[in-house]
């Protein structure tokens, strides 16, 4: 049973108020968003880059994504379900269309210029 403490109330209000204030792409209170594009470049700098170094170009905590030999299905499954102790499950966070955009970003990854 969740006790409705002031701290919990605050978090709930926070989530609601921030949902209203934030740009559409970061908002989605549900898993099915509007048609706004997912900025995967920014997503990596926000979240994915914690493990996927240099925007996915280098191996670090997680494997290198640039030039990965893994299939789209493998990547999709990995993003949705994660891997115990290695990768979180993002299935509740991204829908299929958004995962498609992430896969496209991965396929388009090139070394930095210069």
């Amino acid at each position: 049973m969740i006790k409705l403490t002031p701290g919990l109330l605050l978090s709930m209000l926070l989530a609601v108020s921030l949902s209203a204030a934030m740009p559409a792409r970061a908002q989605s209170a549900n898993a099915t968003p509007d048609n706004a594009q997912l900025d995967v470049h920014q997503l990596f700098a926000t979240t994915c880059g914690w493990c996927h170094s240099d925007g996915g170009r280098a191996a670090g905590k997680g494997p290198q994504l640039m030039n990965t030999q893994r299939s789209d299905d493998f990547i999709r499954n990995r993003i949705k379900n994660g891997k115990e102790g290695a990768m979180p499950a993002f299935g509740a966070v991204f829908n299929d269309a958004q995962i498609d955009e992430i896969i496209k970003y991965i396929r388009d990854l090139k070394p930095h210029e210069g």
């Binding site: 880059g49 379900n81 102790g85």
Partner: protein, 571 residues
């Protein structure tokens, strides 16, 4: 001052009592934790003075060559390895594995007395990043206390492992944070800090009544007072980060809890030099990356020092132990910040000195040793950062503890030499449908300019920082350090070797392979007059994740889901 090793000459009746019968054990209370206990290890940091030191001298420089494995325990399901600090009271060893598995073992034989595996919200854990490892328990007033990754603090009866209470402190569903750190028991109160630095929350530290499990107070490390609110421009406190994910300590003289707080979010800001008015979180961002003193009864803030105002590098103050020592009639508190700068305070957290253990460090030019002021700080703007940042995000030091030896007067602490390239980007905190990390940059590990990555064990004067000796390691060790009355310093390294060094000279006297890398605790205790060294082995935590791609070698085949508690004694 040499101590006579009389601690283990126990009367026979008492020795019989200790042989596994925890039912007759004395109560562990605040006074007993404070006294330290010759044969015991009663709190995460050894005692409230946080020395990570055992006075036992049965194992010493003349006989450590005969040290061998007494027994091993394998907890199972050691996802991301073992990171916990065992505790020992009256011959019973208490430790945790991943998923907050708790074990009570006969300290002489390793026989399992009881075990407890909490039922966790596994669907939640699957969504977490800094999970499911656990750094240990607290004991006190007849109970064992453990935090969980789904935001609970659980109390178990010390004798039977039966659940006494189970209190939910964090609603982790949306924020996805929980507890990885060990709690602290003091004065009938159990204190534990949440994860938080990377997430869009406010990083609470909780105090719970040890008898009933009722929450006593909560301190928000992000803007926890009206004054602090002013140090977060544009309402950035709402998604400020913070937290206090490692145990601090208790100063009974002043009735104060000393705790280190975590970094603000996003980790990397785009403000440029004018961080007070520009960027993602304008202002100093109190009380992140600070050491704080809270009244243990009320949770009210008594004093603090912000080690890194507007921390723009993820160099938490949460990592460090609070070493309480006296010298020449002065009382000090020595606290390492993740940057590798070691802060020396008086007991009210007034800055007395600051020294640096890290060789490669450029996030600031220096920190003023008299005032703690940051000099020549590197604040970034959006875009590629031209000169690599040192140290790396894994820190100039990490959360593995150093050890202070009151006999040698030296502080044995591990330093880390690594850097990073990064490209800073403007990010927006993501709070729905689930909170995400808010880093603020793409980054990659890099060697120090003109050199290789390495780690080093330093023997230093804790107040002045003067170095007596140093031992280098090709990859930074990530385990805690133990020093003992036998004039030994034990370091569990990342390749899996446990080393023993002469505390005065740094000469290596003994080593042994534990089979996999270390990233957790090491303690010493005695049962029936016999001294033991207990260390956890099992790699796979945050800092270790970079080892296989960076160093190759043994790390390529090292498991990231296995581990064991290995206990040594003399033959």
């Amino acid at each position: 001052m040499k101590r006579k090793p009389s601690c283990f000459a126990l009367p026979i009746a008492f020795a019989a009592m200790l042989a596994g019968s925890s039912a007759l054990a004395q109560s562990v209370d605040t006074a007993r934790i404070e006294a330290g206990g010759q044969n015991d290890w009663l709190t995460y940091h050894g005692s409230y003075n946080s020395y990570h030191y055992s006075p036992l001298a049965q194992i010493n420089t003349s006989n450590v060559g005969n040290l061998s494995v007494a027994w091993i325990h394998i907890p199972g399901r050691s996802t991301r390895g073992l990171q916990s600090m065992p505790l020992v009271a009256d011959g019973v060893l208490y430790y945790t594995g991943s998923y907050s598995r708790v074990f009570a073992l006969n300290g002489a034989t390793g026989e399992v007395i009881w075990s407890y595996f909490p039922e966790l919200d596994e669907a939640l854990i699957a969504r977490q990043t800094h999970s499911p490892y656990n750094r240990g328990v607290a004991i006190g007033d007849g109970k064992v206390y453990v935090g969980t990754m789904d935001g609970r603090l659980i109390a178990l009866d010390m004798k039977s492992g039966k659940v006494m209470w189970d209190t939910k402190l964090i609603d982790s569903q949306k924020l996805t944070v929980g507890f990885t750190g060990a709690p602290l028991f003091a004065k009938g109160t159990v204190i534990i800090g949440a994860q938080g630095g990377e997430w869009p929350g406010r990083g609470p530290i909780f105090a719970v009544d040890a008898a009933t499990g009722q929450k006593k107070w909560e301190f928000l490390t992000v803007a926890g007072t009206d004054d602090a609110m002013k140090s977060w421009g544009n309402d950035s406190w709402r998604t400020g980060g913070g937290g206090g994910w490692m145990p601090g300590t208790y100063d009974s003289e002043t009735n104060t809890i000393l705790w280190g707080t975590a970094n603000p979010a996003p980790l990397y800001d785009w403000s440029g030099a004018d961080y007070k008015t520009q960027g993602a979180r304008p202002g100093d961002n109190l009380y992140t990356s600070s050491v704080i003193g809270l009244d243990i009864d009320t949770g009210k803030l008594k004093f603090y020092h912000q080690e890194l105002p507007h921390d723009a590098w993820d160099f938490d103050s949460a990592v460090g132990e609070f070493v309480m020592l006296d010298r020449d009639g002065q009382k000090y508190v020595v606290h390492p910040n993740k940057s590798g700068y070691i802060f020396v305070y008086d007991r009210n957290l007034g800055v007395k000195n600051v020294w640096r253990i890290t060789q490669n460090s450029n996030f600031v030019k220096n920190i003023d040793p008299k005032t703690g002021e940051l000099i020549g700080r590197r604040d970034f703007s959006a875009g590629k950062v031209s000169e690599p940042l040192c140290p790396h995000i894994s820190g100039g030091v990490s959360w593995n503890a150093g050890s202070y030896d009151p006999k040698t007067g030296l502080y044995y602490k591990l330093g880390q030499e690594w850097c990073m390239t990064l490209e800073v980007m403007k990010t927006t905190p993501i709070v729905a449908p689930q909170a995400q990390l808010n880093i603020g940059a793409d980054f990659k590990i890099a060697p120090p300019p003109g050199g290789e990555i390495y780690g080093h064990l330093d023997a230093r004067d804790p107040i002045t920082g003067a170095k007596k000796w140093e031992v280098r390691f090709p990859e930074p060790p990530l385990g805690s350090v133990l020093s003992t009355g036998g004039n030994l310093v034990f370091v569990p390294d990342s390749r899996g070797i446990l080393h023993a060094y002469d505390a005065e000279s740094g000469t290596e006297l003994w080593n042994h392979s534990d089979g996999t890398g270390h990233q957790g605790g090491i303690v010493s205790y005695a049962v029936n007059g016999k001294q033991y060294i207990a260390v956890v082995a099992g790699f796979g935590g945050m800092a270790s994740d970079d080892y296989a791609p960076t160093f190759g070698g043994v790390y390529k085949s090292m498991p990231r889901d296995d581990g064991a508690l290995v206990v040594y004694s003399l033959k």
